[in-house]
């Protein structure tokens, strides 16, 4: 099979799995998950084959794998869609395929496959456990998810969206994949739709990202109308870029390229949950944990960053746009990190850390660090998927404890209910630790260190304020990560439930182990050449390969000791302080960082509610519907009714009745009646009188004719 055909085929297995499960196999749980995992495996195989072939190609950036077909006729031309695998796609495909496959496998265990059906489980609500009788005494075990098959259908669709997005050679199919993921995230966040919080979170996620998507659609339309193409390779040709940079857009001094870039970037702001559209992502934790990992690591949020990295040649044409991007990214990185400090829900901490890390990548792009952004995207995908799956494993273990004690008031996601889990769940602990260290940028061994260090080095070289912001954010990241690890795994169990937590089955731990290998090892592919001692030991493959995507290969930075020291200090300092602060904290009241302002996420949800949602609802109902449609337009219409009636009444009362009825109608009848009354005497019934009368008339008429007419 040619590579091009293979690329076309990569997104197909998950979508086929989706249709198969939805249409045919949804009653059979085992078959459904086999189809789902099998599809993910097929896509994984395809992706790996493509990846291996791609790295074998000399200078892939210049001669990528491309293939396209006519799709939309537009006048005399066609809009073509197709697939493209250049270095950026290849590496993205690599991490997407791995994480997707791991998440599929993990889901089998997470949704309690093989367990009995719950006693009181309802579709639309999380499973509550089942009672089984064993050796004569009853005990409660986790029960299988009631909508098990449906879950695999949804994540299949999700995977399809992501693969489509990654292999697209044009913005339109990228957008198609982008939006399909938006739908899936809606469906998956609202998976337990019986919960109000899940419903609201699903709608919030969809609508918030849609704000960005609408701008992105405009950006696509704008780009398409200026350049006449949406294919990346054609847009990034030198002449097209030159024209785009040269034409002013007429808005606030942006060039056309700058404005288009900004519109597209707003799409990313929504999708990658950047400030000010970040509010949906923490709420998206309402979904099942594999969903959180899908959305937060492997797919949707990465897709946002991937899109900006993809559009980098366009964005970089306008300095103004770049500085906006850098500002939003850096600000989000810091802002989200501060909120993460005060969260107690194990998944919410990770959610804010995701926002923060995505801000990192965006900021890196904003200062022009293309390769560093892409590198961090990949390493982050691995370690954040690991962390989310790890937290899911923790929650699962805790739920086991909750079922054991039967005390359902204990929140299995609250870190203050945990503690000491390292002994109960060793695999989860060690993998989570590796993931946490990677996130914090633990020096030298973790992947997160290398990618973060590269961003900091770039920032130091190009933009000092961004460097300082990111350094503080990195410190906070290390701090809250250690807080999380300390509260969850270290110390002694703080609740009875934590004492009875249990390690999760192999379907959940295997993905953790695989991902932790990448969370550590992937970084070694990107060690800078000029790094002391280690530099040059392994070639800086990431830089060489990914940098090749751009027309001009970015130059490797000279080594500078300041950013290296900074990243060492913030990472180790943050981790150390985090451990010191929290090793003796036993309840949330003892936590000094439970500041209302941080805990309530700077009150953004409340502000948005007051500023946008309430007024819009009011406007829609009261102004548009009640006043405008019902009141004004229908009011005018309803005037026509009485108005016409008034005219009709007038005509009837003042014309029809007196003139036509009385005068013409009744009048003629009356006249006839009156004259008949008068003339009736003539009719005697006597034939001779009639004849006489006839004779007289005859004579009279004859006389008249004779004397007047004929004469």
């Amino acid at each position: 099979m040619t590579t091009e055909t293979l690329i076309w085929l990569i997104p197909l297995p998950p979508i086929l799995a989706f249709f198969l499960i939805v249409l045919f196999t949804n009653r059979n749980k085992a078959l459904s998950h086999s189809i789902g995992v099998g599809a993910a495996l097929l896509s994984w195989i395809g992706s790996m084959v493509v990846f291996v072939r791609a790295i074998g190609v000399e200078n892939l950036g210049k001669t990528p794998f491309v293939s396209s077909i006519n799709w939309l006729p537009t006048g005399d031309t066609w809009l073509r869609i197709g697939v493209l695998v250049d270095p950026l796609t290849a590496v993205t495909l690599f991490f997407v395929a791995w994480t997707v496959l791991m998440i599929f496998i993990y889901s089998v265990g997470y949704h309690n496959f093989g367990q009995p059906e719950g006693d009181h489980d309802h579709k639309g609500l999380p499973p509550h456990g089942a009672t089984v009788e064993e050796h004569g005494h009853k005990h409660v075990v986790p029960s299988i998810e009631p909508m098990y098959s449906r879950f695999f259908a949804f994540i299949g669709l999700f995977a399809f969206g992501m693969f489509t997005l990654v292999v697209s050679d044009n913005l339109l199919t990228l957008f198609v994949g982008w939006e399909i993921m938006g739908l899936c995230s809606y469906l998956l966040i609202g998976f337990w739709y019986g919960k109000k919080s899940a419903r609201d979170a699903a709608i919030k996620a969809f609508m918030t990202t849609r704000v960005g998507d609408v701008f992105m659609l405009l950006g696509i339309a704008y780009l398409y109308s200026v350049t006449g193409t949406l294919s990346f390779r054609e847009i990034f040709s030198e002449t097209t870029l030159h024209t785009l940079a040269a034409i002013p857009s007429g808005v606030l001094g942006f060039s056309t390229a700058g404005l288009i870039g900004l519109l597209l970037f707003i799409g990313t702001v929504g999708k990658s949950a950047q400030f000010p559209l970040h509010v949906w992502l923490p709420d998206a934790m309402e979904g099942p944990t594999p969903v959180s990992a899908m959305i937060h690591a492997a797919t949707m949020v990465s897709a946002g960053v991937y899109a900006v990295i993809r559009m980098f040649p366009l964005l970089s044409l306008d300095a103004q746009t770049m500085s906006i991007v850098a500002f939003i990214g850096a600000f989000t990185a810091l802002f989200a990190a501060t909120i993460a400090l005060a969260q107690n829900d194990i998944k919410r901490v990770l959610a804010y850390s995701t926002i923060s890390q995505l801000g990192y990548m965006i900021a890196a792009l904003g200062i022009g660090a293309y390769v560093a952004a892409a590198f961090h995207l990949m390493t982050h995908a691995f370690f954040k998927a690991l962390l989310f799956l790890g937290s899911g494993s923790v929650i699962h273990g805790m739920e086991h404890g909750v079922l054991h004690t039967g005390n359902h008031k204990v929140d299995p996601q609250d870190m203050f209910n945990m503690g000491g889990l390292r002994n109960k769940m060793p695999i989860t602990f060690w993998t989570f630790l590796l993931g946490g260290f990677a996130l914090s940028g633990f020096p030298l061994i973790t992947a997160g260190f290398w990618s973060k260090d590269e961003i900091l080095a770039d920032a130091f070289a190009h933009n000092l304020p961004v460097f300082i912001t990111l350094a503080i954010a990195a410190f906070l990241t290390a701090f809250y990560t250690m807080r999380q690890i300390t509260l969850t795994f270290l110390g002694e169990p703080r609740t009875e439930e934590a004492k009875h937590a249990q390690e999760t089955p192999w379907t959940m731990t295997l993905p953790l182990i695989v991902l932790s290998v990448f969370a550590v090892g992937y970084g070694w592919l990107g060690i800078p050449e000029h790094f002391p001692v280690l530099g040059g030991l392994v070639p800086n493959w990431i830089h060489e390969f990914v940098g090749g995507t751009l027309a001009e290969h970015p130059e490797a930075l000279d080594f500078n000791i300041v950013p290296l020291l900074t990243s060492l200090v913030v990472a180790l300092g943050g981790l150390g302080l985090g451990y010191l602060f929290y090793r003796n904290v036993n309840s949330s009241t003892e936590d000094k960082l439970q500041i209302g302002f941080l805990k309530n996420k700077y009150y953004f949800d409340e502000i948005y509610d007051v500023v946008f949602i309430k007024p819009v609802t009011w406007f829609a109902d009261k102004v548009v519907y009640q006043i405008m449609d019902k009141g004004f337009i229908d009011g005018i219409l309803h005037l026509f009714g009485p108005g016409t009636q008034g005219i009709g009444d007038t005509i009837r009362n003042y014309f029809d009745l007196p003139v036509i009825n009385r005068f013409l109608g009744d009048g003629s009848a009356n006249a006839t009646y009156w004259s008949g009354e008068k003339l009736r005497v003539v009719q005697t019934g006597r034939i001779q009188q009639y004849l006489m009368l006839g004779l007289i008339l005859f004579l009279a008429i004859g006389a008249i004719l004779y004397f007047f007419v004929l004469a």
Binding site: V22, N70, W71, L72, P73, T74, G75, D76, T77, H122, K123, G124, L172, F175, V176, G177, W178, E179, I180, L183, Y186, L187, G190, Y193, G194, K196, R199, A202, I203, F206, M207, R210, V211, V214, F215, L217, L218, I220, A221, Y222, Y224, S225, V226, V616, T617, F619, A620, D621, K622, V623, V624, Y625, Q626, M628, D629, I633, D634, L637, F640
Partner: protein
């Protein structure tokens, strides 16, 4: 065989009416026979128009399958039929939706005979508008479509049907009054009602000739406005839209399907067939005004839809929102006629007409399905129906997403094309209309949330009120719509190519 080949369009056009006349002689009580007969009779035109679609040569300019019969020779009017890519698309939509609507009305039990006959007459009326190339005949069919719909709403509608049917009738009649006048003026001025002859004489007419003391340009201007108002009411363009929510809400399910699916397209078709080709100058001059109204329809339609508590009304307002994109595309094409951007905008507008026909019909049907089980349309009274009717839920989400314009489904393609086409021409309006696109999401999600999601309303779970799953017949109604929705969403070229060629040759 020759007869069929030579009279293809007349067959498609008159078979429904003929069947309706035959139905007169069928026994009144045999509801089953009447239903199946009507369904069969409406499937024949569908099969014929599918074969029409395959015989149609999209690269040939002008009208194909033309037929012409003398009708009213004294005033120069004839029954002149013909289709091009634009009208063929609409014919296909009409003949597809009518059998589905009839199938959807199999649950009608009172006055089945009259109901089915009205539907078949309605089909002839709608097809006639799309096929006729003679203004007078066009008008006749235009009105023929109105009457059955009035009775369908008035006789088989829900509680407030008298008000709604009256409003529908008066409103559209008000619009078509001017239409008739304008058509007559043009007919007298040019001595023919034939669209092709009229188009040829349109510019060649001696500018000094007069009608009733009015100059040619005055007559044209009056006719332009009369046309515009008539079509604007039918589309409907904001602020002429308030008949729509009432009529759609009160009409029987199948009536709403046809109303939203086809009748609204008559207005947009009028814009494309008559106004743009005949009045390029006026269209250009007033394009901005039309764009304002279209944007208002998109934005306010979405807002109004969001404000509804009645499920069917919510869907009805979504039609205002979606048809706004059609009008926006037409406005852009009027402003920049002949440019590639205008072509794209028109492609989008016409495809949007077709797509909205599919998704709106589907949505109305699904509302009907749930209404039949619960006897309420109040969104507040539903809740958590997903576990009770998972297949229904899946279909509803699918169709809603098509309506929302989710990429991969049909609505996205047309909306994208409209946005792409109008952006360079009417940048500001396109940008403002995005607010409407955003709120499309809001009201669709509101509908799904209130009906499917949420805690289960126990009322529907047990006893006589138990909500049952969508049945096979109902799935059969939805299946063709869903297949087309997906097909156009994934590979739109098969239909868009025909539209595109027609647009390139027409404008």
């Amino acid at each position: 065989m020759d007869f069929i080949v030579n009279h293809f369009l007349s067959l498609v056009l008159f078979i429904p009416s003929l069947a309706a006349l035959i139905m007169l002689f069928l026994p009144k009580g045999e509801a089953k026979l009447l239903r199946w007969f009507a369904l069969g009779a409406s499937l024949v035109p569908f099969l014929l128009s599918v074969s029409l679609w395959f015989q149609f040569k999209s690269f040939v300019p002008g009208f194909q399958f033309q037929e012409r019969y003398e009708w009213y020779e004294a005033i120069g009017s004839s029954l002149h039929l013909g289709v091009d890519g634009l009208s063929l698309t609409m014919v296909l939509l009409t003949t597809l939706l009518t059998p589905l609507a009839i199938l959807a009305s199999f649950n009608i039990t009172e006055k089945v005979k009259a109901y089915m006959m009205l539907f078949l007459f309605l089909e002839t009326g709608m097809l006639g508008v799309f096929m006729s190339l003679d203004l007078l005949v066009f008008f006749v069919f235009w009105e023929v479509g109105l009457v059955p719909m009035y009775f369908l709403i008035n006789q088989w509608g829900s509680a407030n049907r008298n008000y709604a049917s009256m409003k529908f009738m008066i409103y559209t009649m008000g619009g078509s009054l001017g239409l008739l006048l304008a058509i007559q003026m043009l007919g007298v001025l040019f001595g023919t009602y034939d669209l092709l002859a009229l188009t040829q004489r349109w510019t060649a007419l001696d500018p000094d000739s007069t009608l009733l003391g009015m100059s040619v340009s005055t007559v044209k201007a009056i006719a332009f406005w009369a046309f515009t108002i008539a079509f604007a009411v039918k589309v409907p363009v904001w602020p002429f839209h308030t008949w729509l929510p009432d009529a759609h809400t009160e009409a029987p399910t199948a009536g709403s399907m046809i109303l939203a699916g086809v009748l609204l397209k008559l207005g947009a078709y009028g814009f494309l067939r008559l106004i743009l080709p005949l009045y390029p100058a006026e269209a250009k001059m007033f394009a901005a005004a039309l764009a304002v109204l279209a944007t208002a329809a998109i934005v306010f339609g979405a807002f109004a839809s969001f404000a509804q508590t009645d499920f069917k009304r919510l869907v009805a307002y979504s039609s205002v929102n979606h048809m706004g994109f059609v009008v926006l595309g037409i406005a852009a094409a009027g402003l920049a006629s002949g440019t590639p951007d205008a072509t794209i905008a028109l492609n989008g507008a016409i495809l949007q007409m077709f797509n909205h026909g599919l998704s709106a019909a589907g949505m109305f049907f699904l509302v009907g399905v749930i209404y039949e089980r619960t006897h309420t349309r109040n969104l507040e009274e539903f809740g958590g129906l997903f576990p009770l009717a998972p297949v229904y839920g899946g279909i509803l989400i699918f169709t809603s997403m098509a309506s929302l314009g989710l990429p991969g489904l049909n609505g996205f393609i047309s909306e994208f094309l409209v946005v792409r086409g109008t952006w360079p021409i009417l940048t500001t309006f396109t940008a403002i209309s995005m607010v409407g696109l955003l709120f499309t999401g809001a009201y669709i999600l509101k509908g799904i949330k209130k009906v499917l999601h949420g805690p289960l309303n126990e009322h529907w779970a047990h006893g006589e009120h138990k909500v049952t799953e969508i049945n096979a017949r109902e799935i059969l109604v939805m299946a063709p719509l869903m297949v087309l929705i997906l097909w156009i969403g994934i590979y739109p070229a098969w239909i868009l190519d025909v539209i595109n060629k027609a647009v390139v040759m027409l404008f």
